[in-house]
Symmetry: C2
Subunit: 537 residues, 2 copies
Amino acid sequence: MPSYRNLDESSAFKDLLALGPPPSLASLLSGKRVGDCEMAMGGGLSFNWAASPVDSPRLDLLGRLAEEQELVAKFRLLSSGEVMNPGEKRLVLHHLSRGELTGKVVRDGRDYGAFYAGELAKIKAFAAKVHAGEIKGSTGKRFDTVVQIGIGGSDLGPRALYLALERWAKAKGRSRMAARFISNVDPDDADSVLASIDPASSLFILVSKSGTTQETLANETLVKTRLAAAGLDPSRHLVAVTSETSPLAKSPSYLAAFFMDDYIGGRYSSTSAVGGVVLSLALGSDTFAELLAGAHEEDLLALNPEPRKNPALLDALIGLYERNVLGYAATAVLPYSEALSRFPAHLQQLDMESNGKRVSRSGEALAYKTGPLVFGEPGTNGQHSFYQLLHQGTDVIPLQFVGFRENQLSPDVLSEDSTSRAKLDANLAAQIIAFAAGKSDAEANKHFPGERPSTLIHGKALDARALGALLAHFENKVAFQGFAWNINSFDQEGVQLGKLLAKKVLAGREEAEAKSKGQGPEAALAAYALLLGLGRK
Amino acid sequence: MPSYRNLDESSAFKDLLALGPPPSLASLLSGKRVGDCEMAMGGGLSFNWAASPVDSPRLDLLGRLAEEQELVAKFRLLSSGEVMNPGEKRLVLHHLSRGELTGKVVRDGRDYGAFYAGELAKIKAFAAKVHAGEIKGSTGKRFDTVVQIGIGGSDLGPRALYLALERWAKAKGRSRMAARFISNVDPDDADSVLASIDPASSLFILVSKSGTTQETLANETLVKTRLAAAGLDPSRHLVAVTSETSPLAKSPSYLAAFFMDDYIGGRYSSTSAVGGVVLSLALGSDTFAELLAGAHEEDLLALNPEPRKNPALLDALIGLYERNVLGYAATAVLPYSEALSRFPAHLQQLDMESNGKRVSRSGEALAYKTGPLVFGEPGTNGQHSFYQLLHQGTDVIPLQFVGFRENQLSPDVLSEDSTSRAKLDANLAAQIIAFAAGKSDAEANKHFPGERPSTLIHGKALDARALGALLAHFENKVAFQGFAWNINSFDQEGVQLGKLLAKKVLAGREEAEAKSKGQGPEAALAAYALLLGLGRK
């Protein structure tokens, strides 16, 4: 069994610190290095780390760190069904939703791979019936729109993936239904979506693992109320994605129920039924199957103990070097692809909810930094926005670029002697070098210090397989970093306190005026509730 | 005339550092403090700083810092038409687009207030004709959709404002046209928008101050090509927003042209013609006038030298304390309002492009941190995403909450004994306290350290006036911080190098293969260009 040690106990980590600052990026860069730092990912993608601050001695030490922290061994444990979420005493099985990595996982008599495959088959059969018009709305209209009701992992990942493939599916003739998403408990969110669709031809997917998510249940009530007011039978317009033990599992309020379980966390659930139902309905079951295949290809690479052949591991180690040796606090994710407009928001949850932890898996406070802040917007848009600070601000923020050589659907148009596609990709190449190498200028405000590191994921086109690989790459990167930091990347206790206090405000609002007179946080809570219009009859 | 001194020369700043750590938030909080820390903003909004780490001695020192750095005096100079953008030798006049603050600004024979008012009158008259059907598309269809083509400040602010008021305008019967936005040079962006509208009834607004923005011109070419292919006359479907000296200003390719000028920067241009045309067409001229009025109310408050009566100044000083005394690197903007879903993206540009600077206005490298990283998503969505790191991560990230007491349009629905609105606001109140006060727990992963500071902007409802005030508040906050840091918040030289290198890649792509054999950043640039499919015939 691997042992669990904090990062600062690793001798390779100490050696990395002792090695001092890395060589400058400007001195590292060459055409040859760009070629040497290119490696294959799944889904036809490549990972390039030429513009990262890792040279050969540092790469060797990072490889030793990976061995000392037993990162790949721990990834194998995960995939083979060990309890890798000790806080909640749970297995971590999202990989199994796209294929076996290290054999079957059987617990308490259940073969989990077979369970996930069974749900996938149910989804495929259901989608086929909807597409064929065998399942229709309560007024007899065929369903042409699917609306996902969910929040957090039930929203961000599936939404990002749908947006990423919407135009590609159109180009391939695979587009089956339009998809929309309702997440916020702000009722103007749900009503805004409802105003833009025809409820009579819309199928709603209620997604909540526990069946008790406050926001999602409130939105279910809202949607059902609106459907009933429009003369529709809500039970013929809703399906559920939930766990078998949830109150939603066997309710007659739904046309059908599809199951996931506690061994797939919300932010890792896009390849389970949580993403499967909406993506299969909207973009076709073949598209979802290809997405899973791409993710599985990428997962297989994560089993390789050699960082130069394991892109997620190398990406994780570079990020660790930037966070814990160079001390950088944030990472920007910058896809040069409008289709990936919400992919950074998904990664924000994936990374920050997984690795935003201050105690080790055994509960000691850590003496080093863990997960960085993750944010991003598509390029070239970001260039005209926050890149100013990235180039010339007082903090260095490492960058993760993503780019493709082909459009998804658009036939391109020439302007000023080049296509839009060429401009997009030229800007991407240019930014990597501008950030890394900078430019001297006698005028101080035109001087670029450079030495802003980046990596690049690139491929021919953003198709379902590439997208699956991209998704899995970041999931596995986050897992490797969590193992290196010796934290539990798979719980999220930090979301509980707010829920608890919100219930207190809602439950006791008549007492708010009295309470608000007092000292301390509880009194302040009541006072804030009053400011926000709660607590008055 | 005020003098320009670096922050670390201020004696109040030194005293703030010497004062040591602030009292704990848990000890500061009380019902009374929530009341005491409430102050009026424009547009019917309030600013509350009870959960910030500023007590009475620190507030006094921050007030002294504001005096020493002459923050309000510099704001007055700005509004009175001094050259406050020394790098580009420009005045900074966005305030004047919504009203006079300290009198007329006349330069080189032009009364700028009258100029902006004149353009506003032109916009109002044009919108009236479009709404009345006097101006129609080339096939005789009435315009029912307006599409803004612009990037950066020509996109983020106007888009955020449109989304913020779309449903409110519907509720008030003011909704005139649907608005859409094309920004990215990725052609799938433009084509995706075009696929969702009827071009025959769509009016396009080309927004580029210089008339040379590469992405915007490429999108113009794409849109014109598609319109012509659909049998439409592009010149009868396009208007321009540009400067009088730009190549677009007097072109016969446009139905009309509306002007701004070099004295209003892109990220500050939402209240000029850049936001005015699209918002007046989509939501009505009255709505845009109310937005301007709300912004002007807020601007007037920024002239008050007393921080306790100047919300933007106080907000700026609190942010400065968190950045330069407590050392926090980022700020999260968290609106509990789905309508503000893209407002954080606008603030990200506004703040990071303005204050992401490493040299003083006179060109010395600074020894302290300037603008923070700014990011955010609407609550409650963020709670189910990155809040884990905000609560239990290893870095403290201060928070700016925004909330309202009423829905925009939705008639609310009860679920589990409370409305969605009550749940939304209860969560907001709860999070403020959860972040500030934390919670002890014997289980380390359930322990919340607290001491995460926040401020709250709140109001009755998000209407046009409130939104204008919210916009102006952050603009003025950013300006005050820029003055305190002694930087030029109004240029953006950091965006130039990438543009230059991108042109190099596009211009010399046939040479890429040869170049990529060499050493150094230029060779690496060529190699990256090849990887991305450029440079091959």
